[in-house]
Symmetry: C2
Subunit: 492 residues, 2 copies
């Protein structure tokens, strides 16, 4: 499946050995050993020679899962390298049935895409290890997840229904003094009377699902912390976005930190399963942080946004602006302070935080700073994912109902609608019993997003520009949930 | 329309004269004069005697717009007082065609609901003045709004298309040094080359609509600042939510700060035009603020959330929690720090910020503190609204297509679906040419939410509890947009 055209990628093998630093600025850890060597996904089963060929920026061969190999649920996969923006493919992918054995064990299905920047190190490390952090977090609550008949206990080691406030304990001072404005309707109720009103003593019931969400959220943080620690002893370059899917309890948990995207296509309907985190979508969080912690802006940036840079000669004039409280725009009189560079600048794919980075969630990047300064991109760049849940048991899924995961290389050039139409049309023309059809559909998607090299540029339909970025796509059929590896199925 | 049953509301007239302090704690400004006397909406045309009768907590008469009076667009209105939680009705309403004359003048239609707490002062002041703050903000951009042919100029007094960066100015250092990670696909491009890449020099095009949104946002802030200033010289009790609708440029701009709600009902479809700001819906903003500015928590509160209060004997055990980064839950080992009272506590209508207030956006409340402490509720309580836009020119509206605005007294007991069904069914049974039908429909809604007094409680359909809160409802027919006052129509 790999076109064996070799082009001149200067120092390619050197790049692999050195961890794939893509030449974007200094690489202070480059004298350290690699945590993991550069790789393509294990499940592709590529030889070193094939891996080398895959990095051909001229031919841009589309790599797909071999017909002799199977992923869980007959998942399809395809990828292609960028058109030259980095020597190596900085996307990484992982698909596993994760089996963590301790006492009775834990099994979950797992898919993940990572899109690296400023080197492939963080993406490679995350693609090898994030699933184990998720397993570790889930292992801590495995007994609770197994017992769906009872809600998760508030305190471990206590009976879930044991409410200490019904047993005569003294409430906290803040309770007895609560002013309770805009309270429940009905009797006015004196908040200072004893016994205190029962409304303060309800116990929130947490769903099992929330424990899985919390486990994924904390696993991202642990992964990020591990990269930070191990950068001291290993060469782990750059950072990466992370998009993960965990199948557990009959549900898909889609965790996203970055600008990759997952959608479900079900009976021609599109269900978005993630939202992208970009300087524009996260503007108000970033401006709020800059406003409250101005030292993070290093006296060089302003948390205000302007439609373009302010010039010194404009001081005293009135110019459009907005701050973290606003979605609209208004005019303000320009002051010297406003001459600082805006925290968020640019539009669409060109938008940047601190003039540096175009994505606002991800793993790694701990030593990423504004060029020639001591201003760190963290904590503007956060490792915390958003997790969305899809209950597979609520619907009967057909053979053409799928979850599509793609890095931004796909979505930059194809809309949700275009992807859904392409996948639906492609699958309709395949033998429904051919389990390789999802990989062929993924290949078709990558081809549509990359396009054809013509007149020194990549072109897709309607003469639009194809994506010059790395592109990686999983297509996961929902009909086969849990069916492929019956020996691994567990009670939940 | 006012049932003349007088019940014993202790000190009622005294309450009116003193500004309607509802007895929730001290009232430090009570020796100051009132900014405005207690009132019901002017457009109801009530006599002082009728105003007194309207505050009957036993009869709870429903006040409606008299048939002889007309509001713009034939807007309908109805209200009822609470069942005893405060002496006066702390809701206020306003409906006006605002005409601000300066040079060529500005005209917009305006509707607003305010829901006060801890006194009626802030709600009365806001219902009298907020429209003038909006007018003032809009007046500053009136010439720009009038000129729809050109986009708003970035700098006032300059040609809108004059882009200084195309004229050879020196870019800022942060531009020339930009690392540009995860940049646009295509040529790698050296960010340090000259001339700098054009992508850094684009100018964001701002829509006219955004200026109206910005004007409304800043008007709320100005209104809040005026209340803060004037509390020094007037008795302005408590705080209030604010829900406003501005009609301008053929669009409805719905601004919301609080837990009132607006929906559009169009051809049996429900279009939400606001979202509520509550301790639960704003949890992550509030926890983020508490995490970053811990002094705001006064060493008494923790930004972490637990399903219930932590007890001292639980220190060292593992308990469910979540922080501002999480939507899910996980277990943590309890420390002494976790014994503090949670910043956000309780569920649904009982949820509170700092054990004090159940709404997280609104006007006023500048001296509101946690009882018996020096911990201020601001800035957790914010005055900034969210503004949503509905373009009236995109649809042909029928006589039964309406915008419904209601305070939480309505929505606490009736769902969007129930309100839509009730309004649609009611209007279908009215003479379409009877312009009083929208007020009758509003009366019907208030009746459905208040219910009937039975067995010492207010009951609605299916034996559910009726709302014991103040209830106020506008029903605005969309078909009559701009038609009622043709003499006031302006070019935009």
């Amino acid at each position: 499946m790999l076109t064996r055209v070799k082009s001149a990628v200067a120092g390619f093998m050197g790049g692999i050995m050195a961890g794939g630093s893509s030449g974007s600025g200094g690489n202070p850890g480059s004298e350290l050993p690699l945590k993991f060597p550069y790789m393509r996904p294990d499940f592709l089963g590529l030889s070193p020679d094939e891996i080398e060929c895959s990095a051909d920026h001229i031919a841009r061969p589309i790599l797909i899962l071999k017909e002799t190999r199977r992923l869980p649920w007959a998942t399809g996969y395809a990828e292609v390298i960028n058109a030259g923006k980095s020597a190596l493919n900085e996307d990484q992918a992982c698909c596993e049935v994760v089996v963590a054995r301790r006492s009775e064990g834990l099994v979950f299905h797992y898919w993940a895409l990572f899109d690296g920047h400023a080197g492939s190190g963080a993406a490679v490390v995350a693609s090898r290890l994030l699933q184990h952090h998720i397993a570790c977090q889930l292992q801590a609550v495995i007994e609770i997840l197994r017992n769906l008949a009872s809600p998760p206990p508030t305190v471990l080691g206590e009976e879930p229904d044991c409410n200490p406030y019904l047993q005569g304990n003294t409430p906290h001072r803040a309770l007895t003094r609560a002013a309770s404005l805009r309270g429940a309707t009905g009797a006015p109720g004196s908040p200072c009377s004893t016994p205190p009103p029962p409304r303060f003593f309800t116990e929130k019931k947490i769903q099992h699902e929330s424990l899985v969400i919390g486990a994924i959220e904390n696993a991202f943080k642990e992964m990020d912390a591990q990269i930070e620690r191990e950068k001291q002893v290993f060469n782990i370059t750059g950072g990466c976005t992370a998009l993960t899917v965990v199948y557990l309890l009959g549900k898909l948990f889609v965790g996203n930190a970055g600008d990759s995207r997952a959608i479900i296509i079900r009976n021609n309907e599109i269900i978005p399963m993630s939202t992208e985190f970009t300087p524009e979508s996260e503007r108000q969080r970033l401006q709020f942080l800059g406003f409250m912690q101005p030292h993070l802006l290093g006296n060089e940036f302003t948390h205000l946004e302007f439609p373009r840079r302010v010039q010194r000669k404009e001081v005293g004039k009135r110019m459009l602006y907005r701050d973290f409280t606003m979605n609209g725009w208004a005019y303000k009189t320009i002051e010297d302070e406003d001459l600082k560079f805006p925290l968020i600048y640019g539009e669409g794919k060109k938008a940047r935080v601190l003039a540096t980075i175009g994505v606002t969630r991800g793993l790694g990047d701990h030593d990423l700073k504004v060029h020639d300064s001591n201003i760190f991109i963290k904590p503007f760049l956060s490792c915390c994912p958003e997790v969305k849940v899809y209950n597979l048991t609520h619907y009967e899924h057909g053979a053409d109902d799928v979850l599509v995961m793609g890095t931004d290389g796909l979505w930059d050039v194809l809309s949700n609608q275009e992807v859904a139409e392409a996948v639906t049309a492609f699958l309709a023309n395949c033998d429904p019993d051919d389990l390789h059809r999802y990989t062929m559909a993924a290949q078709d998607l990558v081809m549509r997003a990359r396009g054809i090299l013509r007149d020194r540029g990549w072109r897709i339909t309607n003469e639009r520009l194809g994506s010059g970025d790395d592109i990686s796509v999983f297509i996961i059929p929902l009909m086969y949930a849990g069916l492929i590896s019956p020996e691994l199925r567990v009670p939940f």
